[in-house]
Symmetry: C2
Subunit: 418 residues, 2 copies
């Protein structure tokens, strides 16, 4: 691309402890390529910001504010759950995107999200060919679910894995203390609708003497076998910790707990598997229980983020810009693992056509034969991802997180109805 063009950056889907570190990588790197990239405009609330011409001028933010993004959880520009339909099904939206891109001289499109967002980014990347508008769309991977293909891991996952491993360890020490006369079973519910990566992280505490039973979404729930597994652990250790994935389900597909509502992508809104499991144990085995549902706490927990994860989130944002200035389109930078211990990786690249709408599940050999634990191979995979602490600064006892000014770019087009 000969002409200097502006860039569009947006955050999509569920936010994480480190998605802003990727934003930091994108913006800081773009600022270093002023010969090719003009301004970085952020979409307010993801792709919706592009469709509604609700753009944020990131040049109004100081270098210090952008640097602080590295240490701030959540999505600084707002995220969205909004999936573009196909070009055939809703040409109007694509035409609008081109109008907005043209109006603001946007030639680079950086979309920071998971599988659904990769699909959106892939569709945008096709605009160039399909509608004759020169755009380079690069996807910046992000998802606590760790379910994007090709890349060894996804930014956001390492930190949630660390949070879950640390929390499971701490709560298990707690229940161990109480087990003689009180709580014998502690159940923690973790995120993961289809893939059990986050639940797997709870298994890392086994090497610290903690008995853990894990319920993966990849393993159909078998109540009898599950209760027998818990019973065995309690008899041996005096207590037991259960890590249940929100996506754990019966053979017929029913989730252990469905709230009956669905989100914008049509996914069932889950939650509440922990109390279901806990009461099941109480009824069958009579043990006193406690249960926790970590929910947003796990994916927002920047205070205990993995240093490795923060570093990779930043590097992938940086790499996305570097790929763009080199002329790439329709790609996603990836983490390519070179070795487990010492942990070595390089940043690679994958075509978006192979990323969009593909989900990566736990390999069968990461899960123990009985279906309730993780294998040494899985531990070798997970351990490097939770390495290192990257503490934010604190003031008055609370972390110092940045809230950007988010100054709007003046609109040039008529209003667009979503």
């Amino acid at each position: 691309m000969a002409k200097k063009m502006n860039a569009f950056y947006a955050q999509s889907g569920g936010v994480t402890a480190v998605i802003n570190a990727s934003a930091c990588g994108v913006i800081e790197t773009a600022r270093k390529h002023k010969d090719k990239i003009g301004k970085v405009y952020a979409g307010r609330n993801g792709i919706i910001g592009a469709l509604t011409e609700d753009l944020i001028d990131t040049t109004k933010e100081s270098a210090a504010a952008i640097a602080a993004l590295r240490n701030t959880p959540s999505g600084a520009f707002g995220s969205c759950r909004f999936k573009l339909k196909s070009l055939e099904a809703n040409k109007r939206e694509y035409e609008r995107l081109i109008e907005v891109f043209k109006a603001h001289n946007i030639g680079y499109f950086f979309y920071n999200g998971g599988g659904d967002s990769a699909d959106t980014c892939f569709k945008v990347s096709q605009l160039s060919e399909a509608m004759g508008y020169p755009i380079q769309a690069i996807h910046v991977p992000k998802t606590v679910d760790n379910d994007l293909p090709i890349t060894d891991c996804c930014p956001g996952f390492g930190s949630v894995a660390k949070y879950i491993a640390v929390s499971t360890l701490e709560a298990s020490y707690d229940v161990r203390s109480m087990a003689k006369t009180s709580t014998k079973v502690f159940v923690i519910e973790v995120m993961g609708r289809h893939a059990g990566w986050i639940a797997a992280a709870g298994g890392l505490v086994e090497d610290h003497g903690i008995p853990v039973v894990i319920l993966f979404p990849e393993v159909e729930f078998d109540q009898k076998k599950f209760l027998a597994a818990v019973d065995k652990k309690v008899k041996e250790f005096g207590f037991c910790t259960v890590v249940v994935s929100e996506g754990c389900h019966y053979p017929d597909g029913r989730f252990l707990a469905e709230q009956g509502t669905r989100d914008a992508f049509g996914h069932a809104q889950l939650g509440g598997a922990a109390p279901v499991v806990a009461n099941m144990i109480k009824d069958a085995l009579g043990h006193k229980f406690h249960w926790a549902v970590a929910d947003y706490l796990q994916r927002a927990a920047r205070h205990i983020a993995s240093k490795t994860d923060v570093k990779q989130a930043y590097e992938l944002g940086k790499k996305a810009v570097e790929l763009a200035v080199k002329g790439h389109n329709s790609v996603m930078p990836t983490v390519d693992r070179l070795s487990d211990s010492p942990y070595k990786y390089k940043i690679g690249m994958a075509p978006l056509s192979k990323v969009a709408n593909v989900e990566k599940f736990m390999p069968r050999d990461f899960i123990t034969k009985d279906g309730f634990g993780i294998t040494p191979k899985c531990k070798r995979y997970l351990t490097p991802l939770i390495q290192g602490e990257d503490y934010p600064k604190y003031k008055d006892g609370l972390p110092v997180y940045v809230t950007l000014k988010n100054v709007a770019v003046a609109k040039k087009l008529p209003t667009f109805k979503l």
Copy 2:
């Protein structure tokens, strides 16, 4: 006490992130007073360890292991939920305690717990007079509920308050990012059956631009007013965070969520107020929600403990031993606040007769007029207590917590049936 006697130390009730820091203070200080204190025997699982003569010889633990207690959450010797009946109601238990104390030459009794445990400690302190056995019983305060009287705060509380404030801040940033197209209300359920101290800590994030509605156990739940408060915040900010205490209840005393089971003290086992509140909001206002129940995660979260809290926990354990060697009986060391900012305090002392079975609730002037927030006075009280971080060491991505050897002392007496 002229003769050199051994000491008994035990942990009671719900454990915390810093109760082991108090144990560390007790044991390290006792080791410095070898002229007056022989061995420190820890009760395995609280007072049950004394009744069943299940004593742990802490002299078998290295100085490094005892020092590591300062950084380890949970109760290293096991805790219990077991309340001694009155001397009149169950003389047999008291006679047994004296037998065990005599058999092991125990002259000092350090009991580390909350209100119910202070009552146990108080009863033991009366043995001296009532049953002619020379024992000095000192209570070491501990409770995340922060509901002990006289002392300005209770070890364990500062850390849980910090955890809840940090987590509420982080999750609120998350929901703020998602609110445009998805989650608008985040509900976090926190501990606190009768006193709203922990819930109050969630209010500290208000000064970070987060709209918070708090449901205290001290304020009878009024659904209409509550929904109006949430509606107002969502209209003004686009999102809202709700912090609900597990003890929040209707005017008739019914908890928002009761599981129907009761613990050994006869307390209702609570949990699940968050989903009740979240669904209430969905039904009335239509907002998409997420909810979390922090449960044990909050009280075990040593990884984000308050430095002030860890320090005080240690100092109170230390002071308990110092009071004992000075000849005190039936007392509890206290935190006496001298000033808010800069935060200054001294370690004082209170008679156990004034501590046992007294609960300290949130003063009315700590809660805003509408009942849903905290006042500047409350913020001045809370802020010093969450000051400072006191990170544990990490190995392979997880905190290094100690598990003691807990070597049993040889029994000398016949078995005792509880």
